[in-house]
Assembly symmetry: C2
Homo-oligomer: 274 residues x 2
């Protein structure tokens, strides 16, 4: 999403002020969305999480309808794009203390679609385990700009030749993937790790939980241990761009790409690569 990405900063084609607090301190939030033929998938859910993040950080959320219109207008009418939308606390005096009043910066990037392999959807992925521990945070659940834990995890996974891996917290609980949320199926029940102390509450995670319940499946947020992952009947990971990827192997454990994962893929339109 560098040379091939079109950027708008506060609605204009330009770059970012080096004094922006998003750069200086990670002082902001972001969303990454899928756009197909001019349609932003789950736009309302993304804007709702963005607004919640802004509220929690004390950043004035830009007008929601104007923001939505700006995003939709920037997306081409044909083809698939990844849309990244950042809201930062804007520029301000030096130092951690937030300026009062603050004028947030909105940074919108329209990038190439990643073209993930079809096999990720049909045969599933190999899932590893990162040694990076996610720290407890008062900002648990938010998608803020401080993401070095995820960068370190992806650096480690790259060395292992894996596209994704699970992260645990300090209590050895499994939290999520580095760029995705995790779901387990066991005894016809869907489980995803609780995210009350750390992790990102993915938009797709909420959508999968709701879709499962809509179709009569029990679906719960619970503490998850590594042993639960090894014992699962089915495993899959989710995010708003990749959708739903079954897991075919977790460490040395083979996992079947099962009927509940496939039904959710079909239900939500993620049975194949876009």
């Amino acid at each position: 999403m560098s040379t091939d990405t079109q950027w708008l900063v506060n609605g204009r084609k330009r770059q970012v002020d080096p004094s922006d607090r998003g750069l200086a301190y990670g002082d902001g939030v972001f969303e990454t969305m899928a756009a197909h033929d001019g349609v932003l998938r789950w736009l309302e859910q993304h804007l709702t999480r963005l607004a919640r993040g802004c509220e929690q950080l004390g950043i004035p959320m830009p007008d929601r309808h104007a923001l939505a219109a700006e995003v939709v207008a920037a997306v081409p009418a044909r083809g698939s794009r990844v849309v990244k939308l950042m809201i930062t606390r804007g520029s301000g005096a030096r130092g951690y203390r937030p300026p009062e009043p603050c004028v947030p910066t909105r940074i919108l990037g329209i990038g190439a679609w990643p073209d993930y392999p079809e096999a990720n959807y049909t045969h599933g992925i190999r899932l590893g385990l990162s040694t990076i521990r996610l720290a407890d945070s008062p900002l648990a659940g938010l998608k803020h700009l401080c993401r070095l834990e995820q960068v370190l995890a992806q650096q480690e996974l790259a060395g292992l030749g894996l596209i994704e891996g699970l992260l645990r917290d300090a209590r050895d609980r499994v939290v999520s993937g580095s760029m995705s949320n995790l779901f387990l199926v066991r005894d016809q029940r869907l489980v995803t790790p609780q995210l009350d102390r750390c992790g990102v509450r993915g938009v797709m995670r909420d959508i999968v939980l709701a879709a499962a319940r809509d179709s009569g499946l029990a679906a719960e947020e619970q503490p998850v241990e590594l042993a639960d992952v090894h014992a699962a009947d089915e495993l899959f990971v989710t995010n708003s761009v990749l959708g739903i990827w079954p897991v075919r192997e977790f460490l040395d454990t083979r996992v079947a790409v099962g009927p509940i994962t496939q039904a959710l893929q079909r239900q939500l339109g993620y049975a194949h690569a876009q």
Copy 2:
């Protein structure tokens, strides 16, 4: 450090690419330094910490001598300035995984001197206690760009009318201030909190430890509890811009501005505001 700051991005007057990973993920490190009449204080120590941070994150450190020359050349020959130097992992493809190879971005800002009140140096400051808990991190000690904990703490302290406050970790240990390191004097011994699990290893902290030992004072890094802070004979906070500020009040505990604090201020040239 916004309108009044002169910025150089990779040595030229321009802005920052919105795809820079420093903005996207806090994927970088920074130093904040004091410059007086063209002289960067503790420049070598800052560059050493920067190099250590780059190494730990796997970011190629720019040539140290060229970087030093660029910083020195950007500082005016007269007057005092705050110098901020960021090194990020540069631009790259979308996603947490670091690009290989990566071309780091160096961002240099020369800003106005903060003009702290003279009384902060002579009479000391009131020090509060933040409710924000610093999380354990594999990047403990580093001054990386993910600083939302410090932003939240300063937001809280602003509401209390305080310039600085202490932060604890999840085990109730005192770690540091939000923008400074903490020192306690008790029974003629200097103590500063251990930073093996979280916190920033300030350049000034190392300098104060070394200066104390040079002058024959016992100086140790130890676990520090709130009770230790309340029981201290003297308290002071340090960073590279403010230097050394005595604490005259911690919560409801009055503290004397004592002889060891004053001797260290004189020894290192921080007895008065610049």
